[in-house]
């Protein structure tokens, strides 16, 4: 048995945000070979907060897309702290369309404080870009796996996470918005974020219990090994389903998330 104390929800929020954590690029380098990055949404610009391209996973071509965060301030400014603009989601959809065409599984790595709330982002259709990414992922006919590697916050995370399988690292968080945002909206005080983190139910363990995610990966030295094994197992089992079955099962997966009462 591990002697390690389980972190509180807010400690997990801080851990999930830590720049000490492996980021998307490090997972890509550790897990895939022949990664070839592709750029641009073909409409406006290349959003550096999203990295995506083609790679091989144990020889199999796959499409990999993830939020990009930096190791230091300079890198973080370049990647906009992992906050994505419409161009980023549109690039992601473009790469997913290619995956669909060439029958490659889609693997996404989620690590974002949320979609970027800026003037340009709103002017260029942030809502529309997120909505289109959600709806496109819902009708892919190739296997898709999303992994929350850090913070998965708001529609900005979900836009890349409507997948056949959703896994979380043990200290990752997945939430409707940041605990600070939640506390300031509901209680008019962002300093109540620790309390918010508790009532929001954002940890991997809580979300697995609710059936909202499919599994949890241990962190630490063996994280790459664990993720590699998970991806191999999931891709093998999803690979047995045909295109229609994949789409149908994914539809059911999200369709059945229902906690309504007095269903008439």
């Amino acid at each position: 048995m591990s002697e390690k104390r389980e972190l509180t929800p807010y400690e997990k929020v801080l851990a999930a945000r830590s720049s000490e954590r492996p980021n998307t690029m490090e997972y890509i380098e550790a897990l895939f070979t022949d990664f070839y990055e592709l750029h641009g949404d073909r409409l406006f610009r290349d959003d550096p907060s999203i990295v995506g391209g083609i790679a091989r996973f144990h020889g199999q071509p796959v499409t990999v897309i993830g939020h990009r965060k930096g190791r230091n301030t300079e890198e973080n400014i370049r990647y906009n702290f992992g906050m994505t603009s419409p161009e980023g989601y549109r690039k992601a959809v473009r790469l997913m369309e290619q995956a669909e065409k060439f029958h490659r599984p889609v693997i996404t790595l989620i690590d974002t404080p949320g979609a970027y709330p800026g003037i340009e982002a709103e002017s260029n259709g942030q809502s529309n870009a997120i909505a289109e990414s959600i709806s496109y992922m819902s009708r892919l006919t190739v296997p898709s796996i999303a992994v929350m590697i850090g913070e998965g916050s708001s529609g900005g995370a979900l836009a890349l996470a409507v997948a056949d399988r959703v896994w979380m690292l043990e200290n990752a968080v997945y939430s409707i918005l940041s605990p600070e945002g939640f506390a300031s909206i509901l209680w008019k005080d962002a300093k109540l974020a620790p309390e918010a983190s508790r009532v929001m139910k954002i940890t991997a363990q809580e979300l697995l219990e609710y059936g909202l995610i499919d599994g949890i990966l241990p962190e630490g030295r063996r994280v790459y090994q664990a993720m590699d094994r998970m991806l191999r197992t999931e891709l093998a089992s999803l690979g047995k389903l045909g295109p229609d079955a994949l789409r149908e099962e994914r539809y059911r997966k999200y369709r059945k998330i229902d906690r309504t009462a007095f269903s008439g």
Binding site: I176, R259, F262
Partner: protein, 288 residues
């Protein structure tokens, strides 16, 4: 119309005007923009639009249905669906009860079937006054069921959106409704369904970034606030004041994000015309 009818109508109108005169002050409603006090009956007759400055008052789903659907045609579906407090969020049930008392609605959307200018449609009306029109599991479930119903019955789908975003108290269950509704709308559209989305003030956050902005045709009411991140969040993030009219319907039209802005008084006819344009070719005797 014979002369008696005309007199009868005149008298009715006269009586209603007298009625308005006699009405006590609480029968007046103040416009939040120009502060003019308007008689409620007058406001009602003007589609809930301020007679002075043109401000669009929020409408109850019932009133919206009266304005859009053919009289007596609407039949509600899934009206008894209510939320089960998925996270056991403190005081959520009390808050829901308060919102139910305030609005007379069970949740932030009413869905059903009706007709618009004699075209049968599946229609949903969000209530921005109920929990700020936020989307929790009930809103998500009702939208998804309506899409599936519309798909099965081969009906056009009309959704009037009004939402402050996610239902905070339902946490990730709320976020997942973006995936659920996005997937349901997408499946309906892929199977050939016509989805007309009408964005009303305000359409923001998770509703804006899911089904609301997936319409085959997207209409909006004048000056409606339509955005993902709200103006205050953006101002806090970038530390500067936002330009006048930012994120309003007119701004979105200019930026290519919506098809048309339609006055409330013309919405019924517009929807009817658009639905008719999606019907099979009309037989035209002169061109056969």
């Amino acid at each position: 119309m014979n002369i008696d009818d005309i007199f009868l109508q005149r008298r009715k109108r006269w009586n209603s005007l007298l009625q308005i005169r006699k009405n006590p002050p609480e029968e007046m409603k103040e416009c939040p923009v120009c502060h003019k006090k308007i008689e409620k009956a007058l406001l009602r007759g003007n589609f809930g639009v301020c007679t002075e400055c043109g401000y669009y008052f929020p409408l109850s789903p019932r009133r919206r249905l009266e304005l859009v659907c053919d009289a007596g045609s609407f039949k509600e579906l899934d009206g008894k669906l209510s939320t089960g407090n998925p996270l056991d969020f403190p005081e959520y049930e009390q808050k829901l009860a308060q919102n139910q008392m305030k609005t007379g609605q069970t949740e932030a959307i009413v869905t059903g079937v009706g007709s618009i200018q004699n075209h049968r449609v599946a229609i949903g009306i969000m209530d921005g006054r109920f929990f700020m029109g936020s989307m929790g599991t009930v809103v998500g479930e009702k939208v998804a069921r309506l899409c599936e119903y519309a798909g099965k019955k081969k009906l056009p789908l009309v959704l009037f959106c009004a939402s402050g975003g996610a239902r905070m108290q339902e946490g990730l269950f709320s976020l997942m409704q973006m995936a659920k509704t996005g997937a349901a709308v997408e499946r309906y559209r892929q199977n050939g369904g016509l989805f007309l989305s009408v964005l009303t003030n305000p359409t923001t956050g998770g509703v804006s970034a899911s089904f609301a902005n997936l319409g085959d045709i997207i209409l909006a009411e004048p000056k409606a606030l339509i955005c993902f991140a709200g103006p205050r969040v953006i101002e806090q993030t970038i530390g500067q004041k936002l330009p006048e009219g930012f994120q309003r319907a007119e701004f979105l039209l200019e930026h290519g994000m919506i098809d048309r802005i339609v006055a409330r008084s013309e919405l019924k006819e517009t929807l009817g015309t658009l639905i008719a344009l999606h019907q099979p070719k009309k037989k035209d005797k002169n061109h056969e």
